[in-house]
């Protein structure tokens, strides 16, 4: 518990400095001296196409939504103060597309998280963190400067949106045994949070994702299978898709033997595993889980058998 308290306390000690430590997206740029805010209506006098794009959007300048605590709203929340841009007949002096395009992921994300503050906490450890991907690359239907991917709102099921950049997973989802993402019964987001990593503070890291639905395998068990508890579910299962029933990585006994194989396991030694000959038990085309039925964990048998 001390390990938990100490880091949390350390961060809390840092927090009194927050007022001085405040940063905003525009702070990352050299805003020209003398530039002031003119309001979105002025912007839309020339950029009426942008106004049309946002007509039915939460981002519409008509909504007047401001960066929390600033009063800065509309176009200038992202593009910075526009007075000099207007005075120069639209030539420079704002944070325009050319400048934004040259920024790294951190700056691009900061543009959105200055309002979407809850996402700022999630984003920092996510699977896309450190890549070229920023908010606008996926939320193409929410901003006027993105392109390339079909917006998530256009798909019958949200999961397919992600597959535009992850086509290898399509092949997995077309295997005979699969989580039915392409059929729309499960979404990528049911298991993956695009903004955050697998929860490192969860019961057992990545397994926590699987156990949200397959709760009975969470236990707690008197006898737990180390392959589940210490390793990951994906030691034995391919969650996207498999050629084998129950999404197993291989067929039949070849899977269990990947970990449980012992020298001397052959006909001459009576098919011995764990000090016990399995010769007669493996005949008649038996498989390990015909006897070891409770492979995910048992409360009654240390060898996960059905008794």
């Amino acid at each position: 518990m001390l390990r938990l308290i100490l880091p949390v306390a350390g961060i809390l000690l840092l927090s009194p400095g927050i007022a001085a430590g405040g940063v905003s997206f525009v702070d990352a740029f050299d805003v020209p001296a003398g530039a002031g805010y003119v309001g979105s209506e002025t912007c839309l006098d020339c950029h009426d196409d942008v106004g049309e794009f946002y007509a039915n959007s939460p981002h519409s300048p008509d909504r007047g939504l401001a960066i929390p605590g600033t009063g800065i709203a509309g176009c200038e929340a992202c593009h910075g103060p526009g007075s000099l841009h207007v005075e120069e007949d639209g030539d420079g002096f704002i944070i325009g597309p050319e400048i934004l395009a040259g920024q790294g992921q951190g700056v691009k994300v900061a543009m959105c998280t200055q309002c979407h503050t809850d996402k700022g906490l999630e984003w920092t450890g996510g699977p896309h963190a450190g890549t070229d991907i920023s908010c606008a690359n996926c939320h193409t239907d929410q901003v006027h400067f993105a392109g390339g991917v079909t917006p998530v709102s256009d798909f019958r099921n949200k999961g397919e949106f992600c597959l535009q950049c992850h086509p290898a997973q399509v092949t997995d989802f077309r295997l005979p045994f699969r989580h039915r993402v392409l059929e729309g019964q499960i979404d990528c987001q049911d298991c993956h949070n695009p903004h955050a990593d697998f929860d490192q503070t969860a019961w057992n890291g990545m397994n926590g994702v699987c156990l949200e639905c397959h709760v009975e395998m969470e236990g707690p068990f008197v006898y737990e299978h180390e392959g589940v508890a210490s390793e990951d579910c994906i030691t034995c299962h391919r969650p996207h898709g498999s050629n084998h029933d129950k999404l197993l990585i291989t067929e039949s006994n070849s899977m269990c033997l990947q970990c449980h194989f012992e020298q001397g396991f052959n006909a001459g030694d009576g098919w011995t595993l764990g000090g016990r000959g399995h010769g007669g038990l493996l005949s008649d085309e038996a498989r390990c889980f015909d006897c070891h039925t409770e492979v995910h964990g048992s409360n009654t048998d240390p060898n996960f058998k059905d008794q």
Partner: protein, 646 residues
Amino acid sequence: MKMNRTTTITVLGLALLAFALPALAEDTVDLPAQTERIWAPTGDVIGQDNHGTATFQAKDPHGNEAKGAEDWQLVQKYSGQGLFGYFRTKENGSQYWLRGYGDNAGTGGLVGKFDLGGNIPGQFKWNIDFRDFDYFYDRTSEMRAPGFAAPPPPPELGGLPKLNWRRASIRADYRLSDQFSLVGGFNRKCRNGQKGSLLRGFGNTGASAPGTKLFDTTTNEFWGGVGYAGGGFGSDLNVSYRSTSGTRALEGRHNFNDDQTRFGAKLGLSYALNDNFKFVGHGATSKLENTGWDNTGIRTYDLNGETTTSAGQIGLLARLGKSANLAASANFRSLDTDARTNLGADVQQATARKRDSQDYRIALNYHGLAKTRLRLNYRYGTSNLDQTVAEGDIPGGAQVGDFQVSDQTRTQHDFSFRARYRVGIAATIKAKVAWRKQEIDDKNPVLSNPGNQLTYWMGDRDLNRYRWELALRMRFGRWVRFDIGHQAIDQTFERKEFGMSESTWTANRGFTNLTWSPGGGSLDLYGMFSYGVEKYSLTTDPVPTADMNAIAYNGSTMRFTPGATYHLGENLSLEGHYEGVRFEDTGNDDVIKKLQADHDRMRLRAGYDISSAAKVWASYTRNEFDENRWDDYIHHLYSVSVSGTF
């Protein structure tokens, strides 16, 4: 690390392509090449216009219908499908939507999904998601053994097992002020029905019908949180309570009554010191309890299990100049488990288990070199397991029986390096290498009764795993996208206590996508090909006897998906798609006949625009499964659809 011939050829091929072809390129690099979505139903890409699509479908089935039901959830000879979306934006900017789809192709009853939501921009948003789907299972158990090499089929279940999953979630977010926000929700998951199992019926192996598992369980979860953001500081506190209750049964012989609860709380904090440095931290705790019962057919045991988890994470995100950023974090987790089974007042089985783990991660991104992105990740983790399991109570309890004490320490190193290099204006090479080294020190268990070892002991062991990927993405003009790549895995797992028993896993997969899409032209062409081989083997290659299942695995999978769309005039479109998935397992094929399983899928579809807001479709789909066992089937599906926007 083994570098086989396939890998070498792929690497050389990619290198030649990378330097020879960019001269032909004109356009910029963008998304991966996509094949057409053969799985998508009519009217699938829908946009934000109000819309609806209704489909009538007739099925002409041949062969094993149960296997077809498992693959496609298609049972009814005649069925309907529909999808719809309704969106509304009010004067004040608030939005509402309802979208969903459903069909009655399974049991004849309606299954599907809907999503109902709304928002007041900047202030409030809410969402209700509901899903109700059936999953059918084959009547025979999947297996590959000498006696199952070919028809006749084995005994099968009399009925068609069906498991229903019904899930609902409600979520609402409310912004109290510029700094404070609230979020809360409810999740519910219900499982009801019969699921086909891999194991056979009670006391049976071999040529027997599979066993089944029965489910009637419900999980409810309430959760909520509060968030604060101001200046450079952000925080959120979330709590959740989940309960699961219901019954499960294995073959009617092993019955379970679930009564599981979990409470969790999590605090997240972040602090931006300036533009370049940000600290993050998480702290979490949870308590999981299971107090159901377990009936083995002979006795009924009362369960009393509890796991308490404490976890924390601290991290730093730093921008190092204009070209590099760094992320570093330390994670700690502690799990304490106490679990017992009782027969009346007597303790039958018990455990006290404590698992502590720490891991430290660092990630460095660098893009200071022209056309190049580099990413380096390293993770070091350790964990320690102290466990006592007992028949009866654990030492210190009132009814101590035979017990076993285990002590295990794990260390793990994970290293990965990714690089991306842009060659010319229209080609990009991506590469990734990763290495995992895991060492487990598993001490000999201490037994109170040397003649009664309770749990299986693995002993010391090491794992080494290498992964690498290489891909080339090219664009020729505005029309042609071409991607090619190779992925590979090489793993060895050694058990030191058993004469250095070793198992290996090797996998190689190559893929290529090619699309030709003139844009504005009348004909688009797509094609994708992938081929993978995967092998699991054991050191001394034990060979099964003639009545056993396979011990080795040597599988290969090929997927091939050509397709085309053709626009004839302004109103008529024609589509044709094919998808073949070929699978073969030749492991132990000197004793057991190899398994070959082919999936062939084809769809032809024609659409005609009646007006700017309405379209009619006609389609023919053919699904065929052909294997050298007994599960073959063919579906001919004929459908007509009407789509409209309003």
